[in-house]
Subunit: 117 residues, 2 copies
DNA sequence: CAGATTGTTATCCATGTGGCTAAGTAACAC
DNA sequence: GTGTTACTTAGCCACATGGATAACAATCTG
């Protein structure tokens, strides 16, 4: 799940790739349809697709000469939960700091760093 | 908010940087404390910090010769919401497709592509 | 079969990224 | 004020990334 996140975030760090994701929320589409709005050569675009696939964000099936591409929503959910978890830990901590500040009221000012080591 | 996401996701696409984020959920810390567990030279580590700061994930204040680093939880929330939105659009669509499939029951099989252009 | 469509593979190139060392600056601590 | 601490800046290097073109392969269509 670690190298996993590497690929996921790297995949999302490009506007072309995010646009593809957004497009795919409208439904599955063949490669050339997906490529059309992006002013670049097909091979370049294929590299982007490949990264989305490697990251597990997208699933593809080739039938005849057409390759259909569809979203893999489970991956979006996974990353969303990772972020949510980090944020919750942080926010819980802020709350505890607030509580501490209230109980101690007048302290020496070192409250910001390592309240409970 | 676009170039914004570029920086955010790029920042998260590195295990060192994600480790720093995770560490910071335990509370703010000075640069060298953050750097200690990562087997690399300080200047290398500073580049990572810089990216986190550019992405708006982290806020730093220098007092004396020490620079304290703290998390900016709003940014985590922002990205989380972006992901959540994409996923919801997709899941709503899946539901609509299911409904469509149920009402039409015996169709010609083209239901997957462009149900409502 | 001939030709057009739709990908795919192989290179190539410029730029960005992640690591390093060396040398500099600005507080502290004594 | 000397020395140590805690960054900071500058410059170097290997490799990844995002783009391109050219040429190939595998379906359809007529």
């Amino acid at each position: 799940m670690d190298n996993n996140l590497d690929h996921f975030f790297a995949a999302m760090a490009d506007p072309t790739r995010r646009a593809v994701i957004a497009r795919l929320t409208q439904g599955a589409a063949p490669v050339s349809d997906l490529a059309a709005p992006h002013d670049m050569a097909l091979p370049s675009f294929l590299k982007h697709l490949k990264k989305l696939e490697t990251a597990g964000l997208v699933r593809t099936i080739k039938t005849g000469r057409v390759r259909m591409v569809a979203l893999e929503p489970a991956k979006l959910a996974e990353a969303e939960h990772w972020l949510s978890r980090q944020r919750r830990i942080w926010e819980d901590r802020l709350e505890r700091l607030d509580a501490l500040a209230l109980t101690l009221e007048a302290d020496d000012g070192t409250t910001e760093r390592r309240p409970d080591p």
